[in-house]
Every structure is written in C-alpha cells, then in structure tokens.
C-alpha cells in the first residue's frame, strides 16, 4: 500500500519563480523517505506542499487514498516537526503536546493518556510541567516530536529537525528518530541537506536539484549507481572524484593516459571514482598520479593528488603506509562511473 502519492507537483510563486517543477514521488506504508539536496532545491517547499502550508500550483497530493490539495493542514492527518521546534513558548510541555488534540475536541482523559504515553516513549515525562525555555535543545526537539506523535498521523513530516543541534546530539537523535519511526510503523518524509543523515536514515532517498528529481533509490543504489554527476558529487563524503575523459577505440583517455575500458560509448565523458574505492599503489596497471597533500583523520587519511590538471582525492586506512611522490592510482573497472559530459547523465 502507498501512504502518500505526489503526482506531477508544481509550485509556482506569483512572481513566476518555479520552486518545484513537476515532481512525482510515492511513499509506501511505514517507509522513511528522505528528500535531500542543496539549499533552494525545492525539498522544503515540496514537504510544505504535502503539509498544506504551501498551495499546490499543479499536480495532486494524495494521502491515504484521498486527494488533499484543498484541505487545511489540520485536516490532512499529518504531523510536522520543524527545524526551530516551533514550540509554544507560553505553554508547558504538556500544553504543547495537548494543544492539537484539544483543538480537535478530543476528550480530556484521552488527551492525558496520549500525552503520558508519548512523554514516556520520548523520555520527557519529568519535563511535562516545564516551559520550553527551561529545556535544552535536545529536549525541545523531543517535545516537538512528541507533539507529532500524539496526533497519531498517517505520515510524519520532518523539516531539517536536527540542524540546530550539536554534532554529537545530532547523531544520537538521528538514531532515535529512526527507531521511533520503526516502532510506530508510520510513513515519514525527512528533509535534510546533510547527505550523512540521508544515507543513515532513509529507506529511500530522493535527491532533488533545481526543483526536479535527480534520482530516487535506496541509499545503496544512490551511492553505488548515481544517476548523474550531481548525485555523484552530492552523496558521499568526501565527494566522488570527477575527471574529464574521452572514450575511443583504445579505451578511456584520461589526462594523456589510457585505461582499458569495454564501454561501447564514444566521445567526451566525465569519469567518476569514489575516493574510498581507489587505491594508491607503487606500480602496476592504473593512472600515474602525483601525491600533493596528505590529511590524517585518525582512523583513515585523505590523500590529495594531481592527475594531469585535475585534483583527485583518495581515502585509505591509516594502517597503510603514507604514500608520497609519484604513485599509481589503481581501481577495479566496475568502480568506474561514466557520465555524459554535456548532460551529466550516467552512461
């Protein structure tokens, strides 16, 4: 079953700017879909269209089998967690959690039960009578999630909920969100610009760029078979090395060197290789490169090297000897990604 179906959604502002240019995505029952992309790619706008906070210019949003385009946010059976928490500062935590239910006319005993349950689940029971201003960032985030949980929605919408937390807390909360979502078994959309969050949380990732979908797939698919140079450079840290190359009858021409390649494609291409899939060896088959800078990161290190006029990054374990001078960049043929140089689309 599908919880949410977005069909050809377009968002056009009165001044003619198109933030979302015809996007179709399905979110299955219990599935966590992450919208990821750089700022201004339309991911938040798309989420807000689902929430009903932005009007849909064209297309349809169908939630649990009914088109919700014309419905108010409160009538859509959604719950949203905001980036800045958006807690009501003058209400206690209990008041914050109960507010939506109270407005719906839920009976008081039922509200109390739901609030208690959510508070227990999120370990905020002891803060129920405090004001948001008396809570830490992480606790506020929990309250914001609690407010979403008590509504018992068909789908959870997360709008960069962790971006205001420090790095350590962010990792911890990320895991908790995932556990919670699994436990509740509800569909969720999670918007972020952080590709690490996207990779770790998602059942499926939707990579957006300039109001269009670049690729939809599981984290593994998006990582190992990026559909375009944009996805290739956006997903993965450090980003994939992209080098101009030429395919002809001899193989792949890179910076004056030739590597055997069995592609039937001919012409200018962009060659992509992940830093963690490339190796530096003293000799053998591969591309000659010149090591420039070595960055030690503890468990592993990054080596920045020159390949012709291009800079190439290689990641290797810190156990390996530190490379220096002229080395050979070696890789398995299946780890090479080829993209059309003009369109950036995968070949």
């Amino acid at each position: 079953m599908t919880t949410l179906r977005i069909r050809d959604a377009v968002k056009r502002y009165p001044n003619g700017v198109e933030a979302v240019k015809g996007v179709s995505v399905d979110v299955g029952d219990g599935e966590l879909v992450v919208f990821v992309g750089p700022s201004g790619c339309g991911k938040s706008t798309l989420l807000r269209m689902v929430a009903g906070l932005e009007e849909v210019t064209e297309g349809e949003i169908e939630l649990s089998g009914r088109v919700v385009n014309a419905l108010e946010p409160a009538d859509r059976n959604i719950a949203m967690v905001f980036q800045n928490y958006a807690l009501y500062p003058h209400m206690t935590v209990r008041g914050n959690l109960a507010y939506g239910l109270r407005n719906r006319g839920t009976p008081k005993p039922e509200i109390a039960a739901k609030v208690e349950e959510a508070a227990r689940m999120l370990q905020i029971a002891e803060f129920l009578d405090r004001r948001p201003s008396q809570l830490s960032g992480g606790q506020r985030q929990r309250v914001a999630m609690g407010r979403a949980i008590v509504r018992d929605p068909a789908i959870f919408l997360f709008d960069e909920p962790l971006s205001n937390l420090d790095a350590k807390l962010r990792n911890q909360m990320r895991l908790e969100i995932k556990k919670l979502q699994r436990r509740l078994g509800r569909a969720a959309i999670y918007v972020t610009h952080d590709q690490v969050e996207a990779m770790t949380l998602a059942d499926r990732i939707v990579v957006l760029n300039g109001g269009r979908i670049e690729q939809v797939g599981t984290p593994t698919e998006v990582y190992s078979r990026p559909a375009s140079t944009f996805v290739a450079s956006f997903i993965g840290a450090p980003p994939m090395n992209l080098v101009d190359a030429q395919l002809d009858d001899d193989g792949l021409q890179v910076a004056g060197q030739v590597v055997a390649h069995d592609s039937a494609h001919r012409g200018p291409v962009t060659l992509g290789i992940r830093p963690e899939r490339a190796h530096l060896v003293a000799g053998g088959a591969g591309l000659d490169i010149e090591v420039a800078v070595v960055e030690e990161l503890g468990a592993h290190r990054l080596i920045h090297a020159h390949l012709g006029g291009h800079e190439v990054t290689v990641a290797q374990s810190a156990d390996e000897p530190v490379p220096a001078g002229r080395m050979v960049l070696s890789f398995r043929p299946e780890d090479l990604h080829l993209f059309d140089r003009g369109t950036g689309v995968r070949i």
């Binding site: 946010p73 409160a74 949203m80 980036q83 958006a86 719906r104």
Partner: protein, 280 residues
C-alpha cells in the same frame, strides 16, 4: 559588574530629590490649613489637617449642581484611563494582526496611512472630531470620552513590529494543530504579547488619565468631570471667596497622581521585561 561608587549614588539621590521633592512638598502642604498656607507659603512639615482635607476633597459635593465629589471624579478618571488604554490595545492589536497576518491588497499602504495619523494629533483634528462625536450623540457620555480617542498608530506600530518578530513556524505549527485565525490570535499571539500589552497599558493609562482637552470639550455635565479637571475647579470655585483652598487643590493633585503611580509600580517589572526581553 562594576563597583558601585559614591558619585553614582550622589547623582541618583540628586535625581530623586529633584523628581520627588515637589511632590513631597505638595503633599506636606496639603495637610495644612488653607489660611496658614496663604500666610506662610509652601509647608515642609506634616500638618494636622490630613484626614480632614482629604475626606473633604473626596466626599464634598462640589460644582454648581452638587453632583460631583472627589470620589466620583476619581472613578471617572479611572473609567477614562482604563477604557482608553484597553480600547487602544484592543484596536491596535487587531489592526496589527490584520496587517501582519493577512495579505490583503494595499496592506502596506493602509499601514502607512495608519502610521501617518501620528502627524495628526487630537489638537489638530479637534473640531472635526467634536463635530462627528456630537452628531453621533456622544456628548456627555463615557463612550464619547473614550471611543474617539482609541485609534492608535503608536500601538499598531508596536504590535506590528512585535508580531513580525514572532517566528512563522509558530503560525504553521498552530495551523497543523488545527488552530484557526481566531484561536491563533487568542491562544498563541495574545499570551505571547502579554509583556508588550503591559507596557502599552502603562503608557496609555497614564496618557488617558491625564487627558484634559478632550474631556473638557466633550463633557459639560459635572457628573463626568475627571480628577484632572477637578483640580482646576477647586481653585476656580474659590475665586471671590476670601482665601483660596490651596490645601484642597494640592490634595486633589496628589490624589490625581496616585493611580498612575500605582499602575506603574504594579506593572513596571512587566514593562521593563517587555522592553528588553523577547520571550520566544
């Protein structure tokens, strides 16, 4: 924290003396007999007539018709001060709410129209205002005293700035929680604005309490007289009599000052909070 120095205290003490001195003298003088005041001028000691003078001022039926007492004037002043402040707050909050949260054609234009009325204080438009109030039959009524004065560009401007600083996410969260425009206003915006409301209440209460010109032309019946007008009356009445009742006039002035002072004392913590702190 810097160290507290003696000179700081001296400056502050001087300020207090300067501000409070005349009040104290007025109060002390008001407790003396009017003949004594007439003979010896302002008094610097506590006299024996405190209870008598103040009781007279509050309860004597004065004026030509004998309909007005000090107590009644205090009540009128309170009605004017509170009505004025509350009316201004209600009107300007609603106006600011419309301007900030509703996108209607020419919204900004209307805001500036409201704002430009700052250039047209009551004194400038007093004849047309009177004409309108008179045609509506509002002369000699509390409605007439209050309503023509409660449109407030200042209040609208303050509330507009405050509402603009309330994060949009709060509105969105409220929409998702099923709060319509009315609920959002009363259950989110009003509680958030309470320090702001307190601050504006203080200012407007004092302004309303001190109104002199408008009540003077709007009300001719003595039962609507306010304290501020009463002070003048006490003096005026006595012209022609042997010695003016200075003590009673001063007592009335002291009484007229008390309610605004009490309001400021009660609300001052919220007032300062409203000015310096944004609880969000």
């Amino acid at each position: 924290m810097t160290r507290v120095r003696l000179t700081d205290h001296l400056v502050l003490i001087l300020g207090v003396l300067l501000m409070m001195g005349p009040l104290v003298v007025a109060f002390l003088t008001s407790t003396h007999d009017h003949v004594e005041i007439h003979r010896e001028g302002m008094q610097f000691t506590l006299g024996a007539e405190f209870a008598e003078t103040y009781a007279t001022v509050l309860t004597r039926e004065g004026g030509f018709t004998g309909e007005i007492t000090g107590l009644l004037m205090t009540q009128n002043s309170l009605i004017l001060g509170i009505g004025f402040a509350v009316g201004k707050i209600v009107i300007s909050m609603l106006a600011a709410y419309a301007i900030v949260y509703y996108r209607f054609p020419l919204g900004t234009f209307f805001f500036w129209v409201i704002f430009s009325t700052l250039l047209l204080p009551l004194e400038v438009r007093i004849l047309p205002s009177y004409e309108v109030a008179q045609q509506l039959g509002l002369l000699n009524s509390y409605t007439g005293l209050i309503v023509p004065l409660i449109a407030s560009a200042t209040g609208t401007f303050f509330f507009r700035q405050f509402f603009k600083s309330v994060p949009d996410e709060l509105l969105e969260a409220a929409r998702i929680d099923g709060a319509g425009p009315v609920r959002f206003f009363f259950e989110i915006l009003v509680p958030l604005s309470r320090t702001m409301i307190a601050a504006i209440f203080i200012i407007m209460f004092v302004v309303g309490w001190n109104q002199y010109l408008w009540p003077t032309i709007m009300t001719t019946e003595e039962q609507y007289f306010t304290l501020v007008r009463g002070i003048k009356n006490v003096m005026q009445q006595m012209i022609g009599a042997d010695i003016p009742f200075y003590n009673e006039a001063l007592a009335m002035a002291v009484l007229a000052m008390l309610p605004p002072a009490v309001v400021i004392l009660v609300f001052q913590r919220m007032f300062i909070k409203g000015l310096v702190e944004q609880e969000k």
